[in-house]
Assembly symmetry: C2
Amino acid sequence: MTNTALAAADQGFEKSVDRLFDFVRIQSISTDVAYKDECEKAARWLVVELTGLGFSAEVRPTPGIPMVVAHYTPKSVSAKTPHLLFYGHYDVQPVDPVELWHTPPFEPTRRKDKDGVERMYGRGTADDKGQLMTFVEAARAWISATGGLPIKATFLIEGEEESGSPSLVPFLEANKAELSWDAAFVCDTNMWDPKTPAITTRLRGLVHEEITITGPRIDLHSGLYGGAAMNPIRVLTKILASLHDKNGKITIPGFYDGVKPLPSATKKQWRSLKFSDKKFMGEVGLAVPAGEKGKTVLEHVWARPTAEVNGVWGGYTGVGAKTVLPSKAHAKLTFRLVGRQDPQKILKAFQKFAKDLIPKDCKLEFSGKGGGTPASEISEDNAFIKKTSAALKSEFKREAVLIGSGGSIPIVRSFKDILGMDSVLVGFGLNDDAIHSPNEKYNLSSFHKGIRSWVRIMGALAE
Amino acid sequence: MTNTALAAADQGFEKSVDRLFDFVRIQSISTDVAYKDECEKAARWLVVELTGLGFSAEVRPTPGIPMVVAHYTPKSVSAKTPHLLFYGHYDVQPVDPVELWHTPPFEPTRRKDKDGVERMYGRGTADDKGQLMTFVEAARAWISATGGLPIKATFLIEGEEESGSPSLVPFLEANKAELSWDAAFVCDTNMWDPKTPAITTRLRGLVHEEITITGPRIDLHSGLYGGAAMNPIRVLTKILASLHDKNGKITIPGFYDGVKPLPSATKKQWRSLKFSDKKFMGEVGLAVPAGEKGKTVLEHVWARPTAEVNGVWGGYTGVGAKTVLPSKAHAKLTFRLVGRQDPQKILKAFQKFAKDLIPKDCKLEFSGKGGGTPASEISEDNAFIKKTSAALKSEFKREAVLIGSGGSIPIVRSFKDILGMDSVLVGFGLNDDAIHSPNEKYNLSSFHKGIRSWVRIMGALAE
């Protein structure tokens, strides 16, 4: 059955490109209210397409930009047929600076570049219209070739991802029963390289804090008071400088509670990636990894927590010199979390750590919004991971690598916390796709292999 | 002779107040070009007054606001008669916020307040018109009572002190021969308290530096790079936090070269001041002195050097959180210097200290303007100090205290470096005079005792 569907995908590929181009022409920029109608147009476009495939599809209102929800139940289902949620987003980034685009962002262009690679240029060709159309077109291939999908499927396609998904959590909470299935598949990530597929199984969590130290109650003259009055910058820098020891380890007591060592199989796989620490660091002008000694750069960014100062300020920061001994000093911090690190415990541990370092006449205030997101990790033994992995291998003739992402994808936590589902993150983007930048592109091969991969994954999931 | 002059000072005191009021009515704000004519008017007013006393007085042009230079040579001079320079400034601070003044700033008002103390209110009543008029009126008393001054005198009165004295150094250099005499007397400082006169014999020096650390060449996403890429804020805070050890001592190697221990006589005198560390610290909301353990607060601010961070900035400092790992972090520092600390050596020592703390792939830049001013200290055994001290004791029936000032008074360095003269800093201001603030005032007693003190000092210097 899968082979029949694959043949249909190949045969229909030119039309798949045409449809993607139609979709890209809709200027669904969610961050700018001027484009609200275009966003709604994109939602309706998806509903028409999915309805045409036999989905029961709807534009679902939210206080912001609507969701598209579409369900598909195949005619012949067994008790074992899994029901899976597929997630993508139809909104796109703004196009500024538009003068840097070589072709108009909403007039998608297909071009064979000088390196012989065929690419589609336009805003959303990759992020996330091109990516979500890989599973839409895979569904089309299955349905046109075999009369139906091999699995039960729900497509959830939002229109606010680029503006922080403000309606998503309430929507998931209000529609739990309709959206909670066996697992979620998220198509918004990249391949390891143009030849190597990847499944992202680790996402770091995140919690942030803001700290203000008050020394003297007013700004003082550094001559008249300097030496006697405690400078809050001195206190703040002492706290911030104490966060890491000389080996890059974070010194907050209890910070590593819940951090598990990397399984040796994973460690081995990551080593086999031949990831160049030198190249990765060199691209940003650095050479010496800042993380814990004895661990690789991939471990640093995928599997280890961080304590990062995102901003620091206090005293006089204008031009020239000013002999002020300031009253206040501030810093913003984020902690990236892994394993079972608890954001609330991390915040408390940091707060205690800071308190222990301030003189008793200085004041310490925390003004972070609290909250935070724990890390998301899906076991490599998870059946959905295994099936997806095998399907990708069939398509690419290479083992799919199980990678991490240093960043956070909040949807994954929401699927877990609200809907009780693990997420499998598979995407076909490449690091040079210039998503969020001028001249966003998606390789023809990303789109084609992406569709074929989903055909295979859907087939494998049914088994 | 001195007693005759004192009697004349008492007798003429009401007229001295009238003259000060005339002087205060001139709106000589040097920081605002709109008041340039008023500044020149104040200079001319002084020239008329001093010429009337028998000085050869002139308004002397500069590229900015003019100087007043006036010389007086008594009829009978001996080879031993000293020639002394008296310095003050006729320009005043702006008056904003003018709505906070209880009486108009340029309509001087004499008032007995509820505490029974008579005060003169108005901009410049203290700083520095009231203060400089103490030596002008003392000269008048000597001349009217005895027919002349007992010393040779040059009065140098500038009009740009409140705007950073841009013309002063070139003027001193261009007029060395005319201005280089046995010692300078500067009347722009305060008494220790309303009953205790003070001579400021120690001024800390100053040198500043600005440091920029570059980590990655561009701002990075703290998720994608956090853990691997070195955060320049981490490097900067390590440097800044390392400046002081846990006992408040500065750790830069060689920093204390040239710092002498406080003479035990001075230490004893400062102890006798019954200075309340608690009150001094409490006024600014603090309780724990930040300086070196085992030293008093007066030592911290008058006799010990500092390493102070005046400003720090880097990364995101706006509202809310931003997960940035910044490219750059910055700090501005000043070092207050004492004894024979050399500003250039201090800068070099700090630069080396910072260099030793940065990872080899990070960049370190210094952008301070260099320069700097060493400390000014005048020996307590200096003959002019001794004579001034004795004269003040006769007037106040109390020992004059030899104090320090944590701040820097650049004129003192210029007199030393350009004219080769030590400066004796005597003034009759009080800490609550609100100079630079609304409702600036000068106590009648400050003015009266000030005039009498200069009568005595001039007499003592002639002996």
